[in-house]
Symmetry: none
Subunit: 201 residues, 4 copies
DNA sequence: AATGAATGAGCCTTCATTCAT
DNA sequence: TATGAATGAAGGCTCATTCAT
């Protein structure tokens, strides 16, 4: 037995859990499957996680955190488009970096628990409100079409989830640049006023 | 025991199942809960359904069917806007008529089974492709913004799901008219070319 | 499958549990052992009892109840000796009627749980205080030797437990009459003043 | 790590085990609890003891040994009362010196194992027979009431256990002198003939 | 000798499904 | 057709013990 270091083993287990959860879904995933995938004895799992549920929770929290971290506040006094692109790149990147994890979040997390649903919904509502705020600012500058910001934000989030999930599920190797560009096109085409108000006015 | 009509008893069981599934989620829902809610003995359940899974499947199929039925082919030679509105009314109506069922479809269906996911995904892909086709036609007539039709369709479907789920989850009593109008605004604002090309050309 | 009636099946399970607990002790007793002894499927156990612990609790409560019921208040204004004999007969009878249950109470109950110990101790303290009271009364009438009533009561209870357990454990077929007489002799010899004060004085 | 003396570490572990066993009972006591209490690594436990069971056994054997050692043969040709008092002092002292250990012996030992029960019972039977013998002798000298010696011995042992356990469990700080005197009173009051036959007769 | 990470056998409990009445 | 008692496979979790370092 190579003297694997604790953090590393934890990571291995986490990855194994992610794979199994993604492949079989939460309930069909057995602890046995996870430890087999991690090439570890059953008891070892419980040295690193208290619960089957808690591994799942940790995985979900991980994606949520990554997404949150990727998002930067849009400064409307500067040029908006590159900032938007930056956010898109970050969010899309989170998913393309780890498609399995993406599926976990989108596909399995909602239906697990009441507690889970709440947590997840809280996350989405946070995103939505943040996005709605940005849209509002954009609207007051005449950059964004005059739609209800909250509903629009919901729509955008849902739209992004679907598009990204589509990509994550499609077998085609996904060229990161192309995806980013496509999402940018969708978003700007749908949200932004065109032609953009000239800076000179 | 009054000899209840078979179809009626089936309906009662189905409704009971829907309630329980919605309240507790698929896995936490026990056959016991369902038969208790339906005021029927445990064995009776299996006279009407082969399986726990099959009731759920039937419920999900029901929503999918209702949605499919509500959608009418858009005839681009006639005025598009009222037809779009008709479709929106139909789809939104399905959900507002039965919010619990909506939650079932959106929240619990995806994470159940591999088989289930496939079926569901098939349904969505069907919707998407149909919508993409319509968008394509619209684009060739200069009515719809020049975005990738498939991705755009995905985006719209995701967006609708999210907005509708928001509504289904929010406590506010939802005025059907207002919702329809809001969705129409979002869709036309995001998708349609503006100002609409004049009919005279 | 004979259509066994529910109460009867419960009894069978209870008896099976008693036997297994007595033979192997609480922890070594597996639910499998119990249901095997009861010739019933594993799940059936849980139709009648919520828990492994709860069967045990029920068995213990049963002995405690039987003992409590057997004890009658001693009326010191009447002749004490036959009343004492009656109590002895009742208590001893409880044990001789069901030696296995006796062993359960004495041998396994104390070491199970904190909660259990408390309950059991409560029972004994109740007995002790009741007995102490009787002894006190007896002393004020000059019938009982002048010993500390509480300690004396404890002593008597412990002594009875030990003697009865001895009997329950010994293989010898125990003649009920003889045991009763022996216990009576011990108790009266140890506790009662002799010669008894004459009633005429 | 200062190289602690082996015997000393063993003692520490034994004491830790005793405490944990007493607090939680045998089964609820985890090796982890013991080593934590002893401030030692888990593996270390197995350098000093082969087994969880064996530590417990050792503790129980310890009490049994202490008791055995405390008891001296009563010489009926000399004055009996001080010898009896000496024995009482010894036995009572063992318990008062280490109430936790007392509880271990009385509360948890009986229900552990079949093997254990046998051992324990063997010990008690030994005590009983020894005591019965003494009582017999005492009877032939007219010092002890004419009761069945074996049963009487059982009774006394049980009585002592109960009284001592009562004391061990009660919160009151127990004055050794008082306890000894109380037990002496009980025993002599219950067992000895009174008035004592005059030595002259 | 000491450590503590790893092991894996074992058991209670759940619950979808069956079937005799 | 309806019932509900019975079934038993399955799985999460525990914890005494081992052993490489």
């Amino acid at each position: 037995m190579p003297p694997v270091d604790k953090a590393q083993r934890r990571t291995v287990l986490l990855a194994a859990a992610r794979d199994v959860f993604v492949t079989k879904g939460y309930h069909a995933a057995k602890i046995d499957d996870i430890v087999t995938a991690a090439a570890v004895a059953k008891g070892t799992f419980y040295l690193y996680f208290t619960d089957k549920r808690s591994v799942f929770a940790e995985l979900v929290a991980l994606v949520m955190q990554r997404i949150s971290e990727g998002i930067v506040r849009v400064d409307v006094s500067a040029d908006v488009e590159p900032q938007l692109r930056e956010n898109v790149r970050a969010v899309v990147g989170v998913f393309l970096d780890d498609p399995p994890l993406t599926r976990l979040l989108f596909t399995f997390a909602p239906g697990l628990d009441t507690a889970f649903s709440e947590q997840l919904r809280g996350f989405y509502l946070g995103l939505r409100d943040y996005l709605a705020e940005s849209l509002s600012e954009g609207q007051s500058l005449g950059l964004v079409r005059p739609l209800d910001p909250r509903q629009c934000a919901s729509f955008v989030i849902g739209g992004l989830k679907e598009v990204i999930l589509d990509l994550a599920l499609s077998e085609e190797v996904t060229d990161r640049e192309r995806v980013e560009q496509a999402v940018m096109d969708l978003l700007s085409g749908m949200l932004l006023v065109w032609p953009p108000p000239s800076g000179r006015d």
